[in-house]
């Protein structure tokens, strides 16, 4: 250790250097105090605030209930219960989607995990509340937040619709059920292939 280094250590040189900058701003800098809540900061794009759910242009929710966000979330705050949609056969959706904002660390992993970009990090940061239960958000709450921050919506892809036509017709009249009379059906059709 040279004498110079020893001297710097003895007088805490790095700390003095840092304080120097502080004093420079204190004495000669412009005042930067923000008058929150009267004055709101303008946040940079890519700000990771509250997680929200998005919709397609026709108002339907994008989420397909795949639970990948649940799997990605490091703080286990997402719970997805998926099911088949009643009105749209063969369509997966989340029957119940819960995001516990009290536990969320705003890491955005869920946003990255979502294969249909149904999730987004919004600029919502004012989450203070007198009732913590309000922060356990259901799908509707998340969609409402999404509507607030993402008014421009993606167009819903249509290509998968036609092939369900057969299904839709049948779903309305009820699927045939393999009940009693079915057993003999193949006998009658024997040989048909």
């Amino acid at each position: 250790m040279t004498g110079k280094e020893l001297f710097k250590k003895a007088v805490f040189y790095e700390i003095l250097q840092g304080l120097g900058l502080t004093f420079k701003h204190m004495l000669f800098g412009k005042t930067m105090t923000e008058q929150y809540p009267r004055e709101k900061p303008s946040l940079p794009d890519g700000w990771r605030g509250a997680i929200v759910q998005l919709r397609y242009d026709d108002g339907s929710e994008k989420c397909v209930g795949c639970a990948l966000c649940e799997a990605a979330c490091p703080s286990h705050c997402i719970t997805v219960e998926s099911a088949e949609r009643e009105d749209m056969p063969q369509k997966r959706y989340s029957k119940r989607y819960t995001l516990d904002m009290t536990r969320c660390v705003f890491c955005g992993f869920c946003v990255q995990a979502c294969p249909v970009t149904a999730l987004a990090s919004s600029k919502e940061y004012e989450l203070a509340t007198t009732d913590k239960r309000e922060l356990i958000m259901e799908m509707d709450d998340l969609l409402k937040l999404g509507d607030k921050y993402f008014p421009i919506r993606e167009k819903r892809p249509q290509y998968t619709e036609d092939r369900f036509n057969f299904f839709k017709q049948n779903k309305a009249s009820g699927f045939p059920v393999a009940h009693v009379p079915v057993v003999n059906v193949p006998i009658a059709k024997k040989g048909a292939a």
Binding site: V64, G65, C66, A67, L68, E70, A71, S82, A83, E84, P89, Q90, K91, R92, P115, V116, Y159, R163, F164, N165, F166, F167, N170, F175, P176, V177, A178, H179, V180, P181, V182, V183, N184, V185, P186, I187, K189, K190, A192, A193
Partner: protein, 886 residues
């Protein structure tokens, strides 16, 4: 027969274990048995070769080309799924040419694949995902539109998404090679190749779920658990199926305390990973909303839901009161054969030691006890053959069993044996034709002894008589041979033919095949065990196998099929009026009452208290009689999963835990003891049966008012098991040739053999009705399983199409069945089936109670088994105007 001392549970005779060869894979030297497929052998070096069409349960098909590897000195890449390893082979699975070909196959497969993994139920356990990640390059060169199939409805339980299919044909091959059902096929070609039924419609098959499990991608998935969970969310627990005696290992999968899916591990367990519809789709009963959840007291016409502590105190108090007033003999108990060995052991201990009554019985009394006690009587053991023996046997004799319906997995062992070249002899009244998409063993049989309905007893005589011309095995005790010879000499083949409708020749041929076999296994089903004369007929069959020399040696034996999962274990654990644990015969004083005798004693007022654990006598015995007997009781304690007709009469009703909610050992009909593990916490406020017995025992023994949890005697089922095993004889799970021949010799000394021909019944417009098991249901619990109800949810009468045509009946039409004995009648829809014997009707036993009322009840003199599943009925058309809408 397999002997425990001689390395048993391997697959058949030791054929592949012989030679080891050494080969190199990716410069790692490994040795493997000669002839093993390369794709399996490289696993020993920790190498996995990507594959789609290969599956260890199926024969190699080599259609997907994913498994190509480079083998030194071979000009082209070779498919590892068809290549047997050889000495000195040098294999590369990661060389440039291999990687290039793997990338090519993956690009080709993904060219048409929708990659809708987020929505796909296979996501997370998909081979295309896994191998895609490892073996494909990013991006695709395809610009064309992907193929899109219109969506089809593929039945109530299987979901088909052809866009995801990789055309590996595993599903088709499983359905053909394993199930023998052939319901699936592939159609069209090239890009348009798709899987479907031959009639291009809804799937109509045995619904074993095998295609769903074997499909490497999400093209076939379960509609029952569709979109419910992702695979990584599920907690998996190994356990043993609770529906029939086959003892299949299955994996219950669920989130928290909700079972939402069942799967199985290829090659694992007695079933080697195969399951039937009941095992795969029958889990719905576990979390059913109708499960009993709180203990209930019925006093003075009021029903109270009470705490467990209250219920225990009340039960103990009432039992003690009755014992004090009327003596311990006034108490009886019956346990269900779905309970575990631990529970049966503890129950008999509670009855015999704590209460002090000899009156213990189980629902094996409805039939299976016949098989167990007849085998035990002659051989000193009931463990005489295993599935391995069936698969390696060269002759199989199946008597009175419709295995595809009652014991599908044991049936698969038979199908496997037939495929391997075994001769199958079936003896029953069914027709040898089969319905198109259902397997039926007689249709595979080399000889089908198509007897007249209900004449098994006479047919057995025919077989024994025919055996005498073939020559008797030298191992058969002389005394037995002579006695039998004398008895059958007085019966002529002409008489036998008049009764059974089978000629002398068919008996001779069958007897010759059976006795001439190197290893023959006899499989006995409900048509013998649970039908009139069951005990004696079982003895006759055992004698037949002794005379033919097909028992008591390696590879040959007898397998009695159980329709409940633990009939064997419950009796062996001592819950039976004649046996103590370990099938030790007991001479109790006063004589121990059987199930039926308890009901009689209750009706007479001699029995004051009855403890029914999962038993439902109202359903199985004449209702009026049982109802009278039950209302005559001072105390009826019932312990059940669901409300039943019987437990509606209970004074104390205790909710019990199902098999998924407790651990315990179960013994299947081979005698193999297996452990089932607890998957979830008891549903509602239920408790496992063993815990209830343990607490109740303590309550009765100790004069204390401490809360029950301070008194629990056993802390876990394992603790009970340790004690139960101590109560068994040393070698209870083993048997030896010497012990068996000693027993047979002893039996020959005292045997009193009776041979009686049945009298042929004049038909005069009456048809024979058989109650029995349907392939989609087992007992009555399965009725709560949503999946199984989608396959069959109501009673029907099965009839042969020819009979229906003669009566001008159409599928689904309602008919009236009436009994000229009791005058009762029932209206049911009909269902046609080719395999139904002509002149005979079949009704699944799982639903209504009323059909039972049409049939006469007879009681076995020796084993006291009540037979009430067969009888004559009149069938008449319901006039169209009075047709009730189904």
């Amino acid at each position: 027969m397999s002997f425990a001392s001689e390395s048993t549970l391997g697959d058949g005779p030791l054929k592949t274990m012989s030679e080891l060869v050494t080969f190199k894979v990716n410069d790692i030297e490994v040795s493997a048995p000669k002839g093993m497929l390369l794709i399996e052998a490289v696993k020993k070096a920790g190498v996995e070769i990507p594959h789609f069409c290969y599956h260890p349960r199926l024969k190699p098909d080599a259609n997907c080309r994913m498994c190509l590897v480079e083998i030194e000195k071979m000009p082209k890449l070779q498919t590892a799924c068809t290549m047997p390893v050889a000495e000195g082979m040098v294999v590369q699975t990661t060389s440039d040419s291999v990687v290039a070909s793997q990338n090519g196959v993956m690009e080709y497969l993904l060219g048409n694949h929708p990659l809708d993994c987020p929505e796909c139920d296979q996501g997370g356990e998909c081979q295309l995902q896994d191998f895609g990640h490892q073996h494909s390059k990013l991006g695709s060169r395809f610009l064309e539109q992907k193929r899109v199939f219109p969506k089809e409805y593929f039945g109530p339980l299987v979901e088909k998404e052809m866009n995801r299919c990789v055309s590996c044909l595993r599903c088709v091959r499983y359905c053909d090679e394993v199930m023998g059902v052939t319901a699936l096929g592939s159609f069209d070609r090239g890009n348009g190749t798709q899987i479907g039924t031959f009639a291009h419609g809804e799937l109509d098959c045995e619904y074993c779920g095998g295609c769903i499990q074997i499909c490497p991608v999400g093209a076939l998935t379960s509609r029952l658990s569709m979109y419910e969970n992702r695979t990584w969310q599920l907690k998996k627990t190994d356990t043993i199926c609770n529906y029939c005696g086959d003892g299949c290992s299955l994996i219950l999968e669920g989130v928290k305390d909700d079972i939402t899916r069942v799967s199985s591990e290829t090659g694992a367990g007695r079933n080697r990973g195969d399951l039937c519809a009941r095992g795969f789709f029958g889990y719905g009963a576990i979390n059913h909303k109708d499960r009993l959840s709180r203990p209930r007291l019925n006093t003075k016409g009021r029903t109270l839901e009470v705490t467990w502590d209250w219920a225990f105190n009340k039960a103990a108090e009432d039992l003690k009161k009755i014992v004090a007033q009327h003596g311990p003999d006034a108490v009886g108990g019956v346990i269900s054969t779905h309970c575990s060995n631990e529970e049966a052991y503890l129950f008999q201990k509670l009855m015999r030691e704590v209460i002090g009554t000899p009156h213990v019985d189980s629902t094996a009394r409805y039939g299976y006890i016949n098989a167990l006690s007849a085998l035990n009587e002659v051989f000193g053991t009931a463990r005489l053959s295993h599935y391995e023996d069936i698969r390696s046997a060269d002759v199989l004799l199946v008597v009175g069993a419709d295995m595809a319906e009652s014991n599908p997995i044991a049936g698969i062992q038979v199908k496997d044996a037939v495929r391997a070249g075994a001769q199958l002899i079936t003896l029953d009244a069914s027709s040898p034709e089969r319905d198109t998409y259902y397997s039926h063993l007689p249709s595979l049989a080399t000889q089908h002894l198509n007897i007249r309905f209900g004449t098994e007893q006479s047919a057995i005589i025919g077989l024994v008589k025919a055996l005498f011309d073939k020559g008797i095995a030298s191992s058969a005790p002389r005394k037995l041979v002579n006695q039998i010879k004398k008895k059958v000499a007085v019966i002529s083949f002409a008489e036998i033919e008049a009764t059974t409708g089978l000629t002398e020749n068919s008996y001779r041929r069958a007897a010759q095949t059976y006795a001439g076999a190197e290893h023959a296994v006899m499989i006995v089903g409900r048509g013998v065990i649970q039908s009139e004369g069951g005990y004696q007929n079982m003895l006759r069959l055992e004698e037949l196998s002794i005379l033919a020399g097909q028992v008591g040696r390696e590879g040959a034996g007898i397998l009695p099929l159980a329709s409940e999962n633990n009939a064997f274990g419950v009796v062996e654990s001592g819950a039976s009026s004649e046996y103590l644990p370990g099938l030790k015969r007991q001479e109790a004083k006063p004589k121990a009452l059987t199930l039926l005798e308890m009901i009689d004693a209750a009706a007479e007022g001699k029995l004051k208290a009855l403890y029914l654990v999962g038993a439902d006598p109202l359903r199985n015995l004449p209702q009026k009689k049982v109802a009278d007997a039950l209302s005559n009781l001072d105390l009826l304690i019932c312990q059940d999963l669901f409300p039943t007709e019987t437990n509606a009469h209970a004074h104390i009703l205790l909710p019990a835990a199902s098999f998924a909610e407790k651990s315990g050992h179960y013994t299947n009909h081979e005698g193999v003891v297996q452990k089932g593990h607890q998957a979830i916490e008891p549903v509602g406020g239920a408790k496992p049966d063993w815990m209830i017995f343990s607490i109740l025992s303590n309550k009765i023994k100790e004069e204390t008012t401490l809360p029950y949890f301070k008194l629990v005697g056993y802390r876990s089922a394992d603790e009970v098991w340790k004690e139960a095993v101590m109560a068994m004889p040393n070698d209870w799970q083993q048997n030896s040739k010497e012990a068996i021949s000693r027993h047979v010799a002893a039996y020959a000394e005292h045997a009193e053999i009776q041979y009686a021909l049945q009298t042929p019944r004049a038909s005069n417009g009456v048809m024979d009705l058989q109650l029995g098991q349907n392939r989609y249901h087992a007992g009555t619990t399965s009725r709560y399983a949503e999946g199984l109800n989608r396959l069959l949810d109501c009673e029907c009468v099965v009839i042969h199409p020819d009979d229906a045509e003669a009566l001008q009946l159409e599928e689904g039409e309602r008919v009236r069945l009436s009994s000229h004995l009791s005058g009762a009648s029932v209206e049911l829809p009909i269902q046609l089936s080719q395999k139904q014997g002509r002149g005979a009707l079949f009704v699944p036993e799982h639903f209504g109670l009323s059909v039972k009322g049409l049939l006469p009840l007879t009681i076995d003199r020796e084993s006291k088994v009540p037979y009430g599943d067969r009888g004559p009925v009149k069938l008449s058309k319901v006039a169209a105007s009075t047709q009730v809408k189904g």
